[in-house]
Subunit: 717 residues, 2 copies
């Protein structure tokens, strides 16, 4: 057992507040968590704080009151978390973390993730106090207002200093695992034994009871333990309050023991409200353990300092209000007016600017030394971390002719991944335990594992949701890595929120989703996507691709790789399909394009995607024999088509031609946008069934014959 | 520590197969799990098996070869799991479980869930061998074929004897928790100390490594531990193989310790391949522990008996093939041809028919005694378990007038739940730690907790995905319970697959989803649904409701409660809205209906839902002042509208009127079905933002003025 309890220090140290708050302090002892050992001597040296305990407390209270005041002003927000976690903020930002407020994107900075994202004012307090330009006092005063850089939950795309977007509980800790994966990978690839490391930082995360209850966090933390990510340090704000009240109404498991079972090093700080030395020692001990991630369980009182609301859910998600704020000011001895930060507090926190500049300078010197000794590797490092794609990378994508062998697009996807792996050194990824089905292994690489972090194939296990969120973390590490991840398309339902977070937080993850329709056959309706294409076409900022054949699969990868701020989901077939004439990489880039043209105005337009495009093609040939003029449009990506000019769209789908048919082994939902009120969809609006794929296509009426029939109906209408 | 190791018995007992299989048997010892104590004496008496060990082995091999043969014949399927788990099947079905093959829906039967659903042939073997009519030998031979009752994964709606649909990994164990919740609740409500219990059964579940890795299982099992569901017994098929290979590439946590941390009683059977006595003792010990659920970790070899494929992923998801099947027959001493079940094996397993009839008769006698002593309670029990809704239950739903106070529909939802709670004794449910926001507490009841299972409010904690799957289990217990569950609408993204399983498996769960648009305001884009309405409208068999005002909220509940085989999702506002004239319960039942009519043909039709319907209403009034003829259509449920007659649909949306506008604070995706190519949607196709709700509506252009403008544009087009 490795749980270590960080003992509360003697009253002389923690005393002042303990005396001020006799009513609240005793409750700290109520932790039910296993306490196995007394505090071990800190294994790493903690720099002695250069400032008095009084000033430390003042700094901590400054964090609290910026949050309290901002939330009061906006009349909305979550003060409880910042008030309870303020001591962690003080220790992390003033004594532990390495960062440069004047260069928030300095590559080798420590990463911090607020998984308990509702406590966003905690993070804004820290960013303001330490001197990040994006979070001025005016921005703090604009908390949760239109156009501010201080939104209700931290958004990486709005605020420098915020690494990832953490609204939905549980995502943040998984992003943190992804950030730590990226660091471990880059460090293993580039650091040299005879040089100072050029990739060397910790990833810190604060998560709460809500994050702990979410299954996604267990998935990611199981992987973090498996991988032995020693530079990941998570602080668990164990305040035992959630929205419904005390956590004992639904959450009585032994979290510390669970994390030990997951392979983590676990430490318990029993008084996170005032025991600053305990926090210091715990973090030092966490840093000293190199082969396991560390969970520091920090028992706190939510809303610490509020005489009437601390330790209640009232302080979780509502402003303290004027009266209770006054009482809290009195209770904590804070005699500054709203939004006032004393100069000595600024002096302490803003020392980070000088410290950060020095740390960045030191890193640059290490880089210079590295560049001199290892010019080739340094060039590679620079090229990769620039975020620019290598010149001509796309020429690695193969081109297919109609006479080429019929293959499943999942097989083409395998071809693309393996064509791109050598030319895109940032490509890393894997599958949620379906590598032999998704065909996602890069043959030039081994597995990313403890001891082989430099390898590029990642084994996620059966953990789709965490897989997506970890890939978001890898993408947002911004070291030029291009994460892809894979499962059966249907299981996007397990990871949908992580995919939405890719779209929102501008993480260019590539989602490789095979077995994309009833064409998967015998596994039956639980495995057969019906509404998934529509559900992603409806999602903002997600590119939903369904390529037909080799050229379109190449085109899908070209778009996916090029879009570094927008995720792409590629739906791929289990079954073979032809390489139809005129399908092309260039066509895919336009979202929809004509692959079979006619003289003059078409009598009917047949649209299709993926494995069903061939039915449109064959139906056109049959209808032409009957003298009909038929245009066939391949429609791999609706979003890209919508972004084309009005002229182009009209050229593909002329308004005058209202006889239109779409064919796709999926729901009709959404197709009316291109079909109008008159058109017909050949597809399936119910759940699938268990049978061989050809039988299913026949029974559900998704065949060339059905396309012909539908075309005749719409032409006659 | 409570982990107990069930020791392998002396060779004399497990001997025969151990001798036959020297190559494989030694691998059994490789378990890395903590083994803390030797086998404790079984706390409950195990009935001595009346048949010889040879016949036991023959029965076990019959299970294996039915699976092997069926999977070979269908050329698709997963033989590894049935071959490894066959001894569990034998012990459970022949010695442990209480069920009546001739009445698969006997109320007091033990429930069995195959969470590792890909191993479906395991379950079909058991159902066939024990005499369930749905699974004849012909059905076994039709495994995975169109129209069979033996689909690729178990589907409750196709096959009697299958309790729940378990394709996606992790769902089944959560359904099992739900079944155990239902049992505990019904037992606490109805059993009497002076009568034999009329509700008294165990819930068994077999789950594999895949289920264990999925976060959803951790969520549900944390709750099961919290609730102390002592009659839940899960057998973990610890075969250490998943699709990517050995689980040590991604799954090295200590599962047993994790389950102890979750509050479970944990037992380890180290040789699940042959140690039948160990399985017997473990299950007996599990049944003896009444206050905790039990996890029996059963270490097995996947594909046990296959000389060349056992213990490899090759046997997980592909037929053994002719050659390896022959080798396996030889190895296990099975000299019967394909699909032949020896009569002595049938004689053993089909004793279940007589046993089950006797058990059901015994239960009926207990019921008769109960009915005599407690006629009122018996009548209640009968009424509830009949599945019929009480007469006139819907008259409890209130009616609202336009002059009634403006409220949020989440407040109306609270009114409905509390109006229905007294008249629908089966209504049970709760929220994923958002009860004060979702407003889902039934005031007439307390909390379902350990010691108060008879109460009807369930506290799910921050565990959306498990919440949905647990509710599916409660619904499919078929005791007349009507489960509802709640979170913010956006977090349906966390529980989408469970909701899809409600729709597929005909579980009439009511999903109460509040904060249904950007109208939630300051929490920002991670909390603001955009594409969620579209995503559920696209899902088969899901009723997606978005009511406007009190009457429509009442109507949504009326539909939701009435639909016992179809789930309903009700999207509810955070913010207030008016009770518009002509909105009605009856209108909701038609999906869409006219709330403002005009003389003659309308110039324009304005459609809206929920909190935006008022903008359509106000725009109509403004346009009428300008002399326009405007129809306003309220559109609370697309699916119900699609089910109306063509005449009704034409009467609401006449084809001749192509000037149409829809307004909904959500994506335009899907609306083209009703707008045609010419119509316009007033909504939002991008992510939201953090600001007060009125600001967001203004900034994103979702106002009466924008509806008026859009109406003018479409009338002019």
């Amino acid at each position: 057992m490795q749980t270590t309890m960080m003992k509360q220090r003697a009253p002389a140290v923690a005393g002042k507040q303990a005396n001020v708050l006799p009513r609240i302090a005793p409750k700290v002892a109520r932790s039910r968590c296993a306490i196995v050992a007394q505090a071990a001597p800190a294994a790493a040296k903690v720099a002695a704080p250069a400032i008095s305990r009084d000033l430390v407390d003042k700094c901590i209270n400054a964090i609290r009151f910026l949050a309290v005041d901002a939330i009061n002003k906006s009349k909305s927000g979550h003060p409880g978390m910042p008030m309870g976690c303020a001591p962690m903020g003080y220790v992390l930002w003033n004594e532990v973390m390495k960062y440069n407020p004047k260069n928030p994107s300095w590559f080798n900075r420590d990463r911090f993730v607020l998984s308990a994202g509702h406590g966003s004012m905690f993070q804004y307090s820290m960013l303001h106090l330490t001197g990040y330009e994006d979070v001025s006092l005016d921005q703090v005063k604009s908390f949760r207002q239109w156009g501010s850089k201080t939104p209700g939950h931290p958004e990486n795309f709005l605020t420098s200093g915020v690494e990832v977007t953490t609204g939905p509980l549980g995502q943040g800790i998984c992003n943190a695992v992804g950030l730590a994966v990226a660091e471990a990978h880059m460090a293993a690839r580039f650091n040299k034994p005879d040089c100072k490391p050029i990739v060397d930082h910790n990833t810190y995360c604060i998560l709460g009871d809500g994050c702990m209850m979410e299954g996604i966090s267990n998935e990611a933390c199981s992987l973090a333990g498996h991988w032995g990510l020693g530079k990941l340090i998570a602080l668990y704000d164990d305040n035992k309050i959630s929205i419904d009240g005390h956590t004992d109404i639904s959450f009585t498991e032994d979290v510390a023991k669970r994390y030990e079972a997951l392979g983590w090093h676990v430490i318990h700080v029993i008084n996170g409200n005032t025991d600053v030395d305990g926090l210091r020692a715990a973090i030092a001990q966490a840093k000293a353990v190199k082969d396991k991630p560390t969970l520091i369980k920090v028992s706190t009182l939510i809303g610490f300092g509020s005489p009437n609301k601390a330790d209640t859910h009232d302080v979780h998600g509502a402003p303290l209000g004027a009266e209770e704020t006054a009482a809290t000011r009195k209770n904590l001895g804070w005699d500054h007016p709203e939004f006032e930060v004393p100069q000595d507090v600024y002096d302490v926190f803003r020392s980070a600017i000088q410290r950060g500049a020095a740390e960045e300078a030191e890193w640059k010197a290490a880089c210079a030394e590295y560049a001199a000794k290892y010019p080739k590797e340094w060039a590679e490092f620079q090229a990769l971390t620039s975020g620019e794609l290598p010149a001509n990378w796309e020429s690695a994508l193969p081109v297919f002719k109609p006479e080429d062998k019929q293959l499943a697009t999942r097989q083409h996807s395998q071809t693309m991944l393996n064509a791109l792996a050598p030319v895109l050194p940032g490509l890393v990824g894997g599958s949620a335990d379906l590598a032999p089905s998704n065909l996602t292994l890069m043959k030039i690489s081994g597995d990313f594992q403890k001891g082989s972090y430099a390898e590029r194939n990642i084994r996620f296990g059966v953990r789709e949701h965490a897989m997506g969120a970890i890939c978001n973390g890898i993408a947002l590490h911004k070291s030029g890595l291009i994460p892809y991840c894979a499962t059966f398309f249907i299981f996007t339902d397990y990871m949908r929120n992580a995919m939405r977070m890719s779209a929102l937080s501008e993480a260019g993850v590539v989602y490789v989703m095979t077995h994309d329709s009833i064409g998967l056959g015998e596994d039956g309706p639980t495995h057969q996507p019906i509404e998934q294409l529509a559900s992603f076409r409806a999602m903002p900022n997600m590119l939903m691709m369904r390529p037909a054949g080799g050229n379109e699969t190449a085109g899908a990868y070209k778009v996916a790789v090029a879009n570094r701020k927008r995720p792409t989901t590629i739906a791929l077939s289990r079954q073979n399909m032809p390489n139809l004439p005129n399908t092309s990489i260039e066509g895919v880039a336009k979202g929809a394009y004509t692959i079979k043209e006619v003289e003059g105005t078409p009598d009917v337009i047949l649209m299709g995607t993926g494995s069903e495009l061939q039915f449109a093609w064959d139906a056109a040939a049959a209808l032409e024999k009957e003298g009909k003029k038929v245009r066939v449009v391949s429609f791999p990506c609706w979003e890209l088509f919508e972004e084309q000019s009005a002229e182009y769209k009209e050229s593909v789908l002329p308004a005058a031609v209202t006889a239109r048919v779409s064919v796709e082994a999926a729901t009709s939902f959404g197709w009316a946008r291109y079909l109008g009120l008159k058109g017909k969809h050949v597809g399936i609006d119910d759940f699938g069934a268990s049978a061989p794929a050809p039988v299913l296509y026949e029974k559900f009426g998704i065949t060339t014959a059905h396309v012909i029939e539908a075309a005749k109906q719409v032409m006659a209408a």
